[in-house]
């Protein structure tokens, strides 16, 4: 067994491809630095190199479309265990094949990556759906969310475009970073000690004046709009997974 160890960056993953072809040694698994490699396995630590990753990208651009390339990046963001080696195989096949492989869904790797892509895209959409901003006293709209895939970056343009005239922060509590829009650009921010309740609420003293009233109005609205003759809790959970309820205004 040969393991490649990389630094969890996308460039690192591309460097793995370069090194494998250069050394003519192909890994069985690619794992992040934080993973302990099992006993009796050979391992090789890949050192991320921008020149090498750029060369892999250039080779890929000749073989696959920009949308397929974007798909690879989105798949990497899924952070699913073992996704690295699938991406590796895909790239391997893509650069060696005579014709583009991207539509051959009978190939296990192509199908797998397109399925993972859908999962991540779905999660991205859920962030757009279930983010709930709370307005703070200093006019920043603040929201916390805990997506299973690392999709925050993918939503940046959407929120920037939609809420162009208000300052906002979307914070990922699982990965401990967030996006901050300062009316001009979106930046990533990290807070060392975030002062929020377990359900994601900011200390009421720091909230804008009418914030709590709007929260109550929203809850009242949802109650009033429900048709009691048609209650279907299972359907509700299907569309709005319980893992998001923790931070939803209407559910706490």
């Amino acid at each position: 067994m040969l393991y490649f160890i990389y630094d969890n960056t996308f460039e690192g993953l591309l460097t793995c491809v370069f090194d494998a072809f250069y050394r003519r040694e192909f890994p069985q698994k690619i794992v992040g630095k934080d993973i302990v490699v099992p006993l009796f396995t050979e391992s090789f630590e890949v050192i991320t190199d921008e020149v090498k990753s750029e060369r892999v990208l250039a080779a890929l651009r000749k073989k696959i479309s920009p949308s397929a390339l974007r798909m690879l990046f989105v798949d990497y963001l899924s952070e699913i265990e073992g996704i690295e080696i699938v991406i590796f195989h895909y790239i391997q096949k893509a650069v060696t094949a005579k014709q583009s492989i991207e539509l051959n869904f009978a190939d296990a790797d192509v199908l797998e990556l397109s399925k993972v892509y859908k999962k991540v895209a779905r999660e991205e959409e859920r962030v757009r759906q279930f983010v709930r901003f709370q307005k703070t006293a200093d006019d920043i709209y603040f929201a916390v969310i805990e997506p299973i895939h690392n999709v925050l970056l993918l939503t940046a343009d959407f929120f920037k475009n939609r809420y162009a005239d208000q300052q906002w922060i979307v914070y990922d509590t699982r990965r401990k970073y967030g996006l901050f829009y300062n009316l001009n650009t979106v930046e990533t921010v990290c807070f060392d000690n975030l002062d929020i309740s377990p359900s994601g609420n900011i200390n009421p003293e720091k909230l804008a004046e009418s914030e709590l009233a709007f929260r109550d109005l929203w809850k009242d609205y949802l109650k009033a709009i429900t048709i009691r003759e048609r209650i279907n809790l299972k359907l509700q959970r299907q569309f709005m997974p319980v893992r998001f309820w923790k931070y939803l205004t209407e559910k706490n």
Binding site: F105, D107, L217, K223, E229, L235, Q236
Partner: protein
């Protein structure tokens, strides 16, 4: 904030809840500068209520006062309920503040009829106009057009709204006349006609002038009540088919009848809303819109009603076994779409991947085809399996409608249980 707002919101949301439409799709509008809001092509559902319906738009009425007396409506004038009205500024503020918190995707405004149709419509248009011009709001707006509104107001509404709708309410004119003596098809079709003309005119103008204003870019929709009248499914689906032939008509919604005025004998007394029938009608609607089915293939004189225990696609397949088995490696896309268990997504995957090589049932399973259904209707150059021809349609029907037995939970409490054959 005024505490009256809370009451008004509750009453007027409650009054609007039977409107089914909540779509926020069909338009893309980027935020041009530094203002609020954008509309994305697919629409986003921000929450789901306990009845499992999505909340995308702030669905609300401007007022629940009404001069009409429709039997199916909770807001009819003969009902003794609390009446209230939003002022334009209250509603605009509520929309903007909800929007800024990512609670909603936009506004869906409807209204009871006060004085006359034009008076009501004018005030609804004012809300939309305020949002767009005063607050530079680019989110979604869906306006209901009141039956009998004049052309000028519809034209103005179309400039601010993304979608306009006019509910047809009942699947036939007789039924509508019976339950809503103040309405007739004429009063519904006229605004529909205006919307359609405006929509086409707007498209035409934009071909000539790139910056011509868009007219209700997401088109129009309508809604009818199911199970509140004796009309059969053929009547309903033919009507929707005819409506879909109109260029601006994007969606027809079906709403299972819920008795709100139980004292009114003109409407049937139902124990529960006809949810299964509603579901089957939506499935049939999807077949017409996305699966290239014609309405007379789904329902016709021999089969005027949809079967409740199987979906309309399977129903068609069982009535037409001669069309199967479909060879997934050679058949047309349209034919693959007709296989029960294969949806639009898997059908597209199949036709793109088969260029690279033969597909087997193993591939299909991985692509997401429901083999439990599809296996009776396909062949894929493999060893012969029993298709619908070998088993007969009755067997397939039984196999697919059988309710799977629930596995009994194994209980092991460390005690030997001896069955003495005593009942219990």
């Amino acid at each position: 904030m005024d505490s009256k707002i809370f009451d008004k919101l509750k009453i007027l949301a409650e009054a609007a809840k039977f409107d089914v439409s909540c779509a926020s799709s069909g338009t893309t509008r980027d935020n041009p500068g530094k203002s609020i809001g954008s509309t994305s092509g697919w629409g986003i559902c921000h929450s789901f209520t306990e009845d499992g319906r999505c909340v995308s738009l702030l669905k609300i009425m401007l007022t629940n006062c009404c001069i009409y007396d429709c039997a199916y409506c909770a807001n009819r004038k003969s009902n003794d309920i609390r009446r209230t009205t939003f002022s334009v500024s209250e509603l605009v503020e509520l929309t903007i503040e909800f929007y800024r918190r990512n609670y909603i995707e936009g506004l869906f405004l409807s209204s009871g009829i006060v004085r006359n149709a034009d008076y009501t419509m004018e005030r609804m248009v004012r809300v939309a106009k305020d949002l767009r011009t005063v607050h530079n709001y680019n989110g979604y707006i869906h306006l209901k057009s009141i039956p009998g509104t004049s052309r000028e107001l519809i034209v103005e509404a179309g400039l601010y709204a993304d979608r306009l709708s006019c509910n047809i309410e009942m699947p036939s004119e007789e039924s509508l006349r019976l339950v809503a003596p103040d309405k007739n098809y004429q009063s519904v079709y006229t605004p529909m006609q205006y919307i359609q003309q405006g929509f086409l005119q707007g498209k035409e103008d934009r071909k000539k002038y790139r910056h011509a204003p868009r007219f209700a870019p997401a088109g129009q929709s309508t809604q009818m009540i199911i199970g509140g009248s004796p009309d059969n499914d053929m009547k309903i689906l033919s009507l929707s088919d005819a409506l879909y032939q109109r260029p601006a008509m994007k969606r027809v919604y079906y709403s299972g009848y819920i008795p709100v005025n139980t004292y009114d004998a003109r409407l049937p007394a139902l124990n529960a809303p006809p949810l299964v029938r509603e579901n089957r009608l939506y499935q049939a609607d999807w077949l017409m819109r996305f699966y290239h089915f014609k309405v007379d293939e789904i329902v016709n004189d021999a089969h005027p009603n949809l079967e409740l225990d199987i979906d309309p696609k399977l129903s068609w397949a069982l009535r037409h076994p001669e069309a199967f088995p479909v060879n997934i490696n050679t058949a047309d896309y349209e034919m693959i779409l007709r296989v029960p268990g294969i949806g639009v997504k898997s059908a597209k995957l199949i036709v793109t991947s088969r260029r690279y090589g033969q597909l087997t049932s193993g591939h299909l399973q991985k692509m997401g085809v429901v083999m439990k259904r599809a296996r009776f209707f396909i062949s894929c150059n493999e060893l012969a399996v029993s298709t619908v021809h070998e088993t007969g349609t009755e067997y397939v029907r039984k196999a697919l409608t059988a309710i799977p037995k629930k596995k009994k939970k194994k209980t092991d409490d460390g005690q030997l249980v001896i069955d003495f054959g005593v009942g219990g």
